[in-house]
Symmetry: C2
Subunit: 596 residues, 2 copies
């Protein structure tokens, strides 16, 4: 492609103020994307080339694994999502599905994921176990009405995903295929030139038995990954389990009540009373709202040196109730407290707070759903809220069992924790960007949408399903987080918009023009992705642009054109060689071969 006639660049001098992380800044400055609205971007020609290269890598690997590409609608009838019982959770409350009514008043959602649509299709085209397994995938724009779109394409409202769905005749076949897809994913990310790791993950709103995320490690990542040095364990913090450290034993206090004026946080109490956080039990109040309109008040207790994991808590509460949990909010708002609770000294609540504190005329359930984290369940002597403003209490010989507590793991694992009681391995922590996620869905969707097949024994059974996502536009941005310097992007060659750029320092010079065109045509004839910057601009401007947009190799055509000599520069390792133009192609090919 030539810059002047068919491939205009749109680099910017200044960094737009909206960008907060480096990859977002570089995408904007490099002219890769342009903002149309909050979380909504246009992919400019140079960006689309990156997207198409990533898509091609994904397609090749999936096709090799017997997957078949199709394209599903983006408008999803509400009726389908009501059958799978996800409509409410995806559209009400914190629901992230854009939705609308058509001219006839019928409701539709804009697809963030396609389990419902593909399951309905599978129910129509799959009859017999002989047709199984099958895996369909698509690469398509998806929609999520993010409450706070940010980080460019990382958390945008329109983004491109590969989503795939597999169908199986047994749980075992699903598990086998899931493993195979995990391997395929590793290969895809490697082929994109990325360093990615697979970690255990929460299944979230998609549901299902088992799931694994693929993470690009980068400081700008929104996720926390916990892992062992040996590689024996890796998990997203949402899912990670560990053994908490031993608590410090509590010495005997003289009085049962402890005056703690304005000491509402664990930190304050410890500081003022010379206590260790592990001697305190923190009580956090949540309100759980269900699809059937139930409002359930939650009392969650955890050791003071630990943090509540809201994903684990959400899943636990959802599992323990027949109706779907839609929202889980911490109760901190004074007016909500006053409306629904009586004599309720927020900041000084103990695990033994009475059910009577819930007002009779509140629309909440009239009994606390009490949960205690494993870290706290064995403590019988500890400090916690005194249920009275400015007072905490010393609990002695307290038994959580007597108060009908549900005991569970609702805690964030953290750096330094042991991975289990037997092992001495401890967890480390890093930030990660999620670029892929695979799930064993089981029969959740097939049961609800009546997608059956007839098995070897002639019996109708629900299909077993897996689902497999890759964030295509996210990969592009994550690759930048792993590959940049102070001058701009350093694309992995596999997904670079062009493999090489020719920069004539003065394109008006007939010698330079001739040599540029000669090399350009020669490279093109050899199917190399080459860009020719034939603009009538100062050389410095062209060098800066080439570095900013991050093309892996540069061919500089200058005064030595007269000797048919050029400079060949590698963007990432900054090597620079002078070379005769007739040796250039073979040098380029041998240099790049090792990189693919």
């Amino acid at each position: 492609m030539r810059v002047t006639t068919s491939f205009p660049l749109g680099t910017l001098r200044d960094t737009p103020s909206e960008a907060d992380i480096i990859s977002h800044k570089l995408l904007l400055r490099g002219g890769y994307i342009r903002r149309i609205n909050s979380g909504i971007y246009a992919y400019m020609p140079i960006m689309l080339r990156v997207i198409e290269k990533i898509s091609k890598i994904i397609e090749d690997e999936l096709n090799n694994n017997g997957c078949t590409k199709l394209l599903l609608p983006q408008l999803h009838p509400a009726d389908l999502w009501k059958r799978s019982e996800r409509w409410e959770a995806y559209t009400a409350g914190e629901g992230i599905m854009f939705n609308l009514k058509d001219r006839q008043g019928k409701e539709f959602g804009l697809g963030p994921t396609h389990e419902e649509v593909i399951t309905i299709i599978a129910s129509e085209i799959i009859n017999s176990y002989k047709q199984l397994p099958q895996c369909f995938y698509q690469i398509q724009t998806k929609f999520r009405d993010e409450i706070r779109p940010r980080f460019g394409l990382m958390r945008s409202r329109e983004f491109i995903m590969k989503d795939g769905y597999s169908f199986h005749s047994s749980k075992e076949d699903l598990a086998l295929f899931y493993e195979k897809m995990g391997k395929a994913y590793e290969k895809i990310f490697k082929n994109c030139g990325l360093q990615a790791v697979g970690v255990e993950a929460d299944s979230g709103a998609i549901g299902g038995a088992s799931s694994k995320e693929f993470m690009v490690t980068a400081d700008a990542g929104e996720d926390s990954i916990l892992f062992t040095e040996s590689g024996s364990y890796a998990a997203n913090i949402e899912k990670a389990v560990s053994i908490p450290s031993e608590p410090v034993e509590l010495e005997t206090y003289r009085s049962e009540l402890l005056e703690t004026p304005n000491q509402k946080t664990v930190f304050d109490i410890c500081k003022k009373n010379n206590l260790d956080p592990s001697q305190i039990i923190k009580v956090v109040i949540f309100l759980a709202k269900f699809e059937d309109k139930t409002n359930l008040p939650i009392l969650a207790c955890i050791r003071g040196d630990q943090q509540i994991n809201e994903v684990k808590l959400f899943n636990l509460i959802n599992l323990k109730h027949s109706s779907s949990l839609i929202n889980l909010d911490i109760i901190e708002n004074k007016s909500i407290v006053e409306k629904n609770l009586v004599d309720f000294p927020l900041g000084f609540i103990g695990p033994d707070i009475d059910n009577k504190n819930i007002k009779v005329n509140s629309n909440w359930n009239k009994k606390w759903f009490r949960i205690v984290d494993n870290s706290a369940k064995n403590l019988s002597t500890f400090i916690s809220g005194g249920n009275k403003i400015n007072f905490h209490k010393v609990f002695k010989k307290y038994s959580f069992e007597e108060e009908e507590f549900l005991t569970a793991d609702i805690r964030n694992a953290k750096q330094g924790d042991k991975i289990n009681a037997e092992s001495n391995e401890v967890l480390k922590e890093k930030r990660g960007i999620e670029i892929g996620h695979i799930f064993q869905l089981g029969q959740k969707y097939s049961a609800k949408l009546n997608a059956k097949f007839s098995d070897k024994d002639g019996k109708l059974k629900n299909l077993w399903m897996g689902c497999y996502g890759i964030g295509v536009t996210r990969i592009a941005q994550a690759a930048i987080e792993q590959n940049y310097d102070d001058k701009g992007i350093c694309w992995p060659i596999q997904i670079a918009p062009f493999e090489v750029i020719i920069i004539p320092t003065n394109f008006k010079d007939p010698l330079q023009m001739e040599l540029s065109n000669e090399i350009y045509n020669n490279f093109k004839d050899n199917n190399i992705d080459i860009l020719l910057d034939d603009r009538d601009e100062r050389a410095g401007v062209k060098f800066k642009d080439a570095e900013l947009i991050g093309i892996p190799f540069q061919i500089i055509i200058g005064r030595d054109s007269i000797n048919k000599e050029i400079e060949f520069i590698s963007r990432s390792n900054k090597s620079k060689i002078k070379i005769a133009s007739n040796k250039l192609l073979e040098t380029f090919i041998s240099e790049t071969k090792a990189m693919y």
Copy 2:
């Protein structure tokens, strides 16, 4: 691809009842598409291959013409469409844009077309005439909330389009590029194996000076094309102009009033009173609703043997008023008449009906906007409504000028009409399917969205714009309307999902399996799109499926495998030859070369 492991077919035995035209039936029966909702379809793997082939043909030709591919968002902020003054027309009344509010309550439309978005981008990236011309295009799913989705992908609510937008420094450069794109379009449709014609067209809601549609002629087409045998003229009926036939002179009637009991149609009056339709003037009442809420009653008069062209009428009224026309409805509803008009004998209205018939308390304008078609303007003696139930009137020496009539062409040209007063060429009529549309937009959008460039003289000027659409999914279906027989589809090879299919009559036979695999691998190595039907099915089932899905060539592997002989069948011309397997590849290549 192999049917069992990576390319499942989904053919149906019965034709789904929803389909009304042959191409729609064949797409469903062939397993190409599956209906998810009214006007919303999934593109199954075999369909996606057709779509990708068409897309590739379009891309290659556009890239050759210096166009650059990008990808724009599908969610469009309402604000942008309000600036171009299209939001109301596209979302209110008969508006076809799906629209929604996000979680923050902000309005968005789902893009049916992208003039606004691309113009905003152009306004940011184009500064100087030196950067012009430029043309950007994308291939993307578009949305239209059709009031009556039908004919499968022909008039669906989600469909794939190529839309392109060009930017120029002058009207002349735009006109040149528009011509060049017209030529590129002809080539694209030819490369898709289609017979298409370019016709003059109405610019519709897109706006602009000049536009041309590309039509595939087919009986199932929704459009009427009028053209001369010589090719000197071709236009969509919405736009076509012609000279109406001469009227029959009216003999003198004895009385002014003509009793016409229950004779509300031209046909009835002519039959009962021995008149010719050209001796009558038909008066049709419309109500025009504008964006500024004006309701303007329209009195449209035309000769009784002619039909009103509502597109011409709409454009005329829109042009004559400062506010945008949103709806134009015929007034036939009795309750609307009674609410707004007094003493109004619908069916017996004459061109001289009084303004006083509009009720004082109606929210309509109190004066008829009177329009007379060219076909009627010179008649001074004619029959028309008597403004009294069951009476018509003989008008003698009537002058339209006296009544403040706007004279214009608001008539449908029709088969047999002369194309102009000088020529003897007459119009013929055919049905057509619109597959492409190009427009000279002029400065409509750049003026409204403030997209300027600095010209050679250093002055800021509005960009000149063109826009260019191709219906990708429509092409696929239109190709079927032109290429099918009683057994199924006969794809043009250029856009067929596969070029050739291998059908072993008994795949369990080791000889057949070996020969099938040998041919399959040989063809694949030569980059031929080949499908191997390796199912354990009866030969008859496989033959029927191959014919239905319409792969251009079939390789039948049967008992002659032992002699390494196979049958080679052309789907479209039904030729069948026996051939040695080692001659097959070269025969295939020479047969197909001529077809591309």
